[in-house]
């Protein structure tokens, strides 16, 4: 009963979404306000509708309705309730509903705002948001129905939405259960974060398209969606970091990022999104790069859908799986169509988007931002090509190939280094005009101190030249950025007669975007320290030892004490846990307990490392294997990951930096007036 209800609501939602597209487009064409309003209300109806359908699905998930195929696939009786709820996005069909639900939520939030003088954008924003929602709902309604049930047909059990003639419902005893790898708190939050980021990027895209269609191509659409772009970026970044942390904690390979196509799928919209965050500033301040910003938003949207496509269509495992999957070709067609239409609109409006200023200096802030964009795009090219080349190769030569970390690391490392250099130089260059002399005067002190720090590291820590270059760049960016805070606060302290701390707080409060950006730069450098640590300095060893035996690595001694294995039938898990003593240079540090969890329902292992984490390094011990008779010993793999903790510390700082930059101001009316005035000013200046 509930299945029919849920599916029925999905069908209704799909019809409402399609109606809202048609009504909005028709209303805009005929300038019929009543029709546009009707489209808006239809759009607003989508969120409660999809929520109802989702509620039905969650009810089925939580109450063990294993006759529903989706529930059978992603839950089992032994799973705790919160995991049964989050299993909603643990499988294909459910995650597509989740996508539509989030998009409906965001689109509603946008459509209930006061439109005032931006009313002409409204119908086209509705069109874009509803087309996207309708596409995802359509996938659910026609191909990936989460409410399909099992039926007893003569001699077989088959999944169908509605009962075949004479069939009765089939009730499996228990479900297959969520993949144990996904039963981790990080994995519970990681997909929603990533999806929030993905979906939120639909909003800036919708406004960009609205601007193109209406021909209102000033930077109004950018101002209206500035916060959306920032929040989308925050969620996407957070999703990426959580994914990394999850990999570090449960995948058992001692790392956080493996250049897996699925990871890159989420990383690509982040690259264009980051480039966009920088280049919009040029349009706002200097009235330039209007074409480019449009291209970036269109690309980001296409990459968001492409990312979902990569992870959902089976295309990554092989082009044949893609051809067999029902939704793969549909996704492909949708990406192609939306991309072609967007580009056609852009070409149509090209003359309207001409820049208002000339580029006066190759070292001006806008020129450096352009270089920054070029570098982000270059990383994107490397990533995109790395992901699709195996597919191209399979298509043309019939041979599959692997594109693994060595390719990406070699290709992107110099690009990231150049980005870091720009991160140090650009904040000190001026809008409009900078010369090598002015820049040199502003930078030489930081560069000198960074060089001294690098020399000190050469004598005390490492002689690896890649690491030394990276440390120099990190120190340089940190010094420049901290100096920016210092100089600003000092200037304000003198002119306003405030104490240093008040001056700093007020300075940051007055220009949240700028100083939020600087906090983000600092946090990025902290993360870079962690990444550098694991990439360059990671050491590992593996060995089999009997009880009492020792393994040594980088000053640590790991002594194997005992091993125990037991069943927890309630949770459906067998635990095998080793206890090891850890010493550093002979000093006892404590015990660690690496273990392997074996899940009966899905017949899968999960390797949980024993970790000891400090600011200097992580000791990361994996139980690889053990002999049934414990006296024979166990095999351990040990990693020492220097500095990796800074990656997580940087992530937290990053989160606060974005929050600081994106937090809504107290009085939005005042902010609007302010932004309008500055828009006028920049036009006058141009």
């Amino acid at each position: 009963m509930l299945s029919e209800f849920g599916y029925g609501i999905l069908v209704v939602s799909f019809i409402v979404a399609v109606y809202s597209v048609i009504a909005a487009a028709y209303g805009a064409q005929t300038k019929s306000l009543a029709t546009i309003e009707s489209a808006r209300r239809a759009m607003l109806l989508l969120f409660p509708l999809i929520s109802l359908s989702a509620a039905a699905l969650i009810y089925l998930l939580v109450n063990n309705h294993y006759e529903v195929a989706f529930v059978y696939e992603v839950t089992s009786r032994s799973m705790p309730t919160y995991l049964k709820v989050t299993a909603w996005w643990g499988g294909q069909a459910g995650s597509l509903v989740f996508w539509s639900w989030l998009l409906a939520l965001f689109a509603s939030a946008v459509t209930i705002r006061k439109w005032e003088r931006d009313i002409e954008f409204l119908p086209w924003v509705i069109v874009v948001a509803s087309v996207t929602t309708a596409f995802f709902l359509g996938l659910n309604v026609f191909y990936e129905n989460p409410f399909t049930r099992f039926w007893n047909v003569p001699g077989n059990v088959e999944p169908h939405m509605f009962a075949p003639a004479g069939a009765t419902l089939f009730f499996p005893e228990d479900g297959r259960g969520l993949n144990p790898l996904l039963r981790h708190p990080g994995m519970v939050i990681h997909p929603p974060m990533l999806y929030l980021g993905f979906v939120a990027y639909v909003i800036p895209f919708a406004f960009a398209i609205a601007a193109l269609v209406t021909g209102r191509t000033d930077d109004r659409w950018i101002r209206l969606t500035r916060r959306w772009a920032l929040w989308a970026w925050l969620f996407l970044s957070f999703g990426l970091v959580l994914g990394g942390r999850w990999a570090y904690d449960v995948l058992g390979w001692g790392g956080y990022w493996g250049w897996d196509p699925v990871e890159i799928a989420a990383f690509m919209p982040w690259l264009t999104g980051t480039a966009y965050l920088h280049s919009v500033m040029i349009q706002e301040k200097r009235g330039q790069l209007k074409h480019w910003n449009m291209i970036l938003v269109i690309l980001t949207y296409a990459l968001v859908i492409f990312g979902t496509f990569l992870t959902r269509s089976g295309v990554l495992s092989s082009v044949h799986a893609f051809a067999e999957s029902a939704i793969g070709p549909l996704f492909f067609a949708f990406i192609g169509l939306t991309f072609i239409i967007s580009v056609a609109l852009l070409i149509w409006r090209w003359p309207l988007l001409r820049g208002e200023n000339e580029m006066t200096s190759m070292l001006s802030r806008e020129a450096l931002f352009l270089l920054n964009n070029l570098l982000f795009m270059s990383v994107l090219v490397v990533c995109f090509w790395g992901v699709i080349f195996p597919l191209i190769s399979e298509l043309f030569t019939g041979q599959k190939v692997t594109v693994g970390p060595p390719f990406y690391e070699r290709a992107t490392a110099p690009l990231f280094a150049a980005l870091m250099l720009l991160m140090g130089v650009a904040p000190l260059s001026a809008w409009g005009h900078s010369t090598i002399q002015t820049l040199g005067r502003a930078l030489w002190k930081s560069a000198l101190v960074a060089a001294i720090i690098t020399a000190a590291l050469f004598f005390t820590y490492t002689q690896n030249w890649i690491a030394l270059i990276a440390f120099f760049l990190i120190a340089f960016v940190l010094l420049v950025t901290v100096q920016e805070f210092w100089r600003g606060a000092r200037a304000r302290q003198h002119s306003q007669n405030e104490n240093f701390f008040t001056a700093l707080m007020r300075l940051m409060g007055r220009n949240r975007r700028r100083y939020g950006g600087y906090i983000i730069h600092i946090s990025m450098m902290l993360m870079a320290i962690g990444i550098l640590g694991i990439e360059v300095f990671q050491t590992e060893t593996q060995g089999t030892v009997a009880s009492g035996g020792e393994l040594n690595l980088s000053g640590y001694t790991v002594q194997y004490r005992e091993l125990a294995s037991w069943d927890d039938s309630g949770a459906g898990v067998n635990y095998t846990r080793a206890i090891v003593d850890v010493y550093e240079n002979g000093i006892y540090l404590g015990q660690l307990t690496p273990r392997i969890d074996y899940y009966f329902d899905s017949q899968q292992n999960m390797t949980i490392p024993g970790q000891r984490s400090t600011f200097r390094d992580d000791l990361y011990i994996l139980l690889v294997d053990w002999q049934p008779v414990s006296s024979m010993g166990a095999t351990f793999k040990i990693f020492v990951n220097p500095l990796v903790n800074w990656l997580w510390i940087g992530s937290i700082a990053f989160f606060f930096g974005v929050l600081f930059a994106a937090w809504p101001d107290k009085d939005p009316a005042e902010e609007r007036v302010h932004s309008r005035r500055s828009a006028k000013q920049s036009q006058v200046a141009g």
């Binding site: 306000l33 058992g252 090509w385 594109v403 693994g404 290709a411 060893t541 593996q542 036009q683």
Partner: protein, 183 residues
Amino acid sequence: MFESWKVKMNHQSRPTLHASRNTQHATRIAYLVLFLALLFASFSSASAQSSAPTDDEVNAIARQLYCPVCESTPLDVCPTDACKEWREQIRTLLAEGKTEEEIFEYFEQQYGARVLAEPPREGFFWLMYLIPPVIILAGVVILFRSMSDWRKKPAPVEVEADEIPAAKDDYLARMEEELKKQK
């Protein structure tokens, strides 16, 4: 010599460590191969290693290989039984005194180019390495040409940002009014 040695893939992780029949079969063949290889090695002047290869030596090579089934998981950390067998295969080859290059070659011959961490630098696969730099270079050229264009050209006629054609203005005003009424 190795052509007959095809290990059947078994990708279900099992809790017990009992070797399956396939494994036993493979192991038997492996011993045979090992014996033949040692025989061969003793006649040639190759630098056969005397001590058994350590886990670290095996992992250093396994890290750079990918089995065809476990997508994107390097062989050194892959937990499946099939990958465990592959690692043992590497150990055997190392014990025979094979170099890293020879082991890569062996796996590539057996299972195709996809076992390597990167496509081999040959034929069609060169595209993998050539396309990104070409596109990036094109980007650099486009960027610098448009930058110098911007510098040469006088500023183009400004598009007044807030100005909307009169007909549209009227439309706007009506829309706003309508919306106010509805509130």
